[in-house]
Symmetry: C2
Subunit: 352 residues, 2 copies
């Protein structure tokens, strides 16, 4: 096909695991770089390097052993990326990482593209916060600019009196105040862009979160035809602006005033797991195709699906789930912990 | 779920590779035992042992490291199986292997079950062959009782004059003469049986062979409703008779006189590869579920599919195929050789 034979993946969690499996379908090998021992992706990867992101020797050897590098999470130290990129190309591009790693940069980027976001303000200190609360109003939510996910690094401000506690929760980290958006529901677009600029988006999925963690994604999402078109156009505008190569997750709030961009994830995304049982080519293969320089595949949806995450003790339901017609996807994690994503199931809707 | 965490797989080819991927979906690890270096299954397995089937130490260590043992090909030396089975259970059962490893045993087994086969006769020498040709007639086909696959170890006898050459082709191996069956087409049933005796069969697929090698399988197959029922009943009768656990491939000739059993393969089968893109649970996962003591999953068909093998130079078509909506499955084999199965593609038929 081309000269890409081995994909290097930064991060050895479930996303890296499912990327490895997708790579194998295209005859490609994967090499996982992961600081923790016994990573889920290691069970299905050709090679695993266990080393930290400041181990320059390990990073160099890893990069030299692969043809192209990708990642399954955003918070990779810049120094590691600099070193890796001096040896091999990294997809998606650094610009996408820089944008999504910082909520303020991300919001400014989206606004510059003419897209709607929640109202927001930069918060460096108590004065900034007081000013921001006055402008944006309450309820609002204070978030660290970096490193937050699944509801961590966030504090709700229901009235100005909550400001001090919320700021203390940030522990000195640079933060951003976001106004609440009144939305009917949240949808995700999983979009892919290949090296030659072709774009393919999976059908939008409708997300339900519980305690800040994704619980279910259902396709098709409740959207009007024009909302559906808007969702894809927004994804395409972002992908093109970033000269993106790979799969991107895009969370959108559905409101009477149109679609409001909540968040960009420059990687395969939990809300795209339904594609494994709803499409011939899933989000993981679409990402590998883009990163490896292949044409994008057929991401059209053949079935309606509800994806349900298995979190922590949800694993107790496994013996019963195994008896149903659900498609089960487990991550091979040894220890069940509260809030830990252990797997997911795809409930495929039968045609009548 | 239960105590099975690691599946040992004898054989590291493409079937072992796709079994490893399926195991990963259920959170299970695989350990591949394979004499050749760099086996396709090794790229996606947790552990690979490179050793020969007469290396008792390697066999014992392999068996001790896994919870249950299965295989991706039939011709495993009996001595190795004896040793392995003294340490860990083997599924499918030895009886299935013994039956399918020997064409004569297989034919007798099928006949004893009241199933139709091609006419056949045991051939030990030239006299046997002359007698067999007289009884069965020509054209007929002389096959080694053991070790033949994909058209190897076979010689056609168009008239009695071909007898000597055909027998010489067998190189002294015990053989069986099979009469030709006049059939309109060949279908496969991929059947699964779980440890608790539940049976689930995938929809029959219609096979096209070229030069003795499977070229395409298409679902649905051309079958009347009663033929479809018969196909499943035949598979069930065989699975139950063998107290089978796992997935079995069953090739049937469709004739005006009913379905005639051509061959049993006690493993996942090339003619079942369409299930990867036609069903929520494919043949590989169904096999792993059975072997690991899970309930069988939902093998119902959501889409019509034509599976096309990529053999040898077919790989030259890959750049064009990658641009289509075909689902590609490559085996990661380094060298392209004539007649070598390099991968397959599933063409999923879109609903109108």
């Amino acid at each position: 096909m081309n000269n890409v034979k081995t994909i290097g993946i930064l991060g050895g969690g479930q996303l890296g695991r499912m990327l490895s499996v997708a790579a194998s379908r295209l005859g490609l090998k994967t090499h996982i770089f992961e600081p923790s021992a016994n990573p889920p992706a290691g069970h299905v990867a050709d090679v695993v390097t266990t080393a930290s992101y400041d181990d320059e020797g390990a990073l160099k050897a890893f990069a030299a052993s692969v043809d192209v590098i990708t990642f399954e999470f955003e918070n990779i130290p810049t120094s590691a990326l600099d070193l890796l990129e001096s040896v091999r190309p990294i997809h998606p591009p650094r610009a996408a990482l820089a944008t999504s790693q910082d909520r303020l940069t991300e919001k400014n980027f989206l606004q510059d593209l003419g897209l709607q976001t929640a109202p927001f303000a930069d918060v460096q200190n108590a004065d900034d916060l007081a000013q921001a609360i006055e402008t944006i109003g309450t309820p609002a939510i204070l978030k660290t600019r970096q490193m937050g996910y699944d509801g961590k690094g966030q504090a709700r401000i229901m009235s100005p009196a909550d400001a001090d506690t919320a700021l203390a929760d940030m522990a000195g980290a640079s933060s951003i105040l976001e106004g609440f958006v009144t939305f009917s529901h949240e949808v995700s677009v999983i979009g892919a862009r290949s090296a030659d600029g072709a774009i393919s988006c999976f059908d939008p999925g409708e997300n339900v979160h519980v305690n800040g963690i994704l619980r279910t994604t259902t396709v098709p999402a409740k959207l009007t035809p024009s909302q559906r078109t808007d969702a894809v156009l927004i994804a395409a505008r972002i992908l093109n602006a970033l000269d993106y190569v790979g799969v991107m997750g895009l969370e959108l709030f559905v409101t009477p005033q149109g679609l409001i961009v909540n968040e960009i994830a420059p990687r395969v995304h939990n809300s795209g797991h339904w594609t494994q049982n709803g499409c011939a080519i899933d989000q993981f293969e679409q990402h590998i195709r883009a990163v490896a320089g292949w044409p994008l595949g057929d991401g059209s949806r053949h079935s309606d699906v509800t994806m349900e995450n298995l979190i922590g003790d949800d694993m107790d339901k496994l013996p019963e789930l195994a008896k149903t017609d659900a498609a089960i996807h487990l991550y091979g994690k040894t220890d069940v912990k509260a809030g830990r994503k252990m797997g997911h199931v795809n409930h495929v809707k039968k045609s009548a």
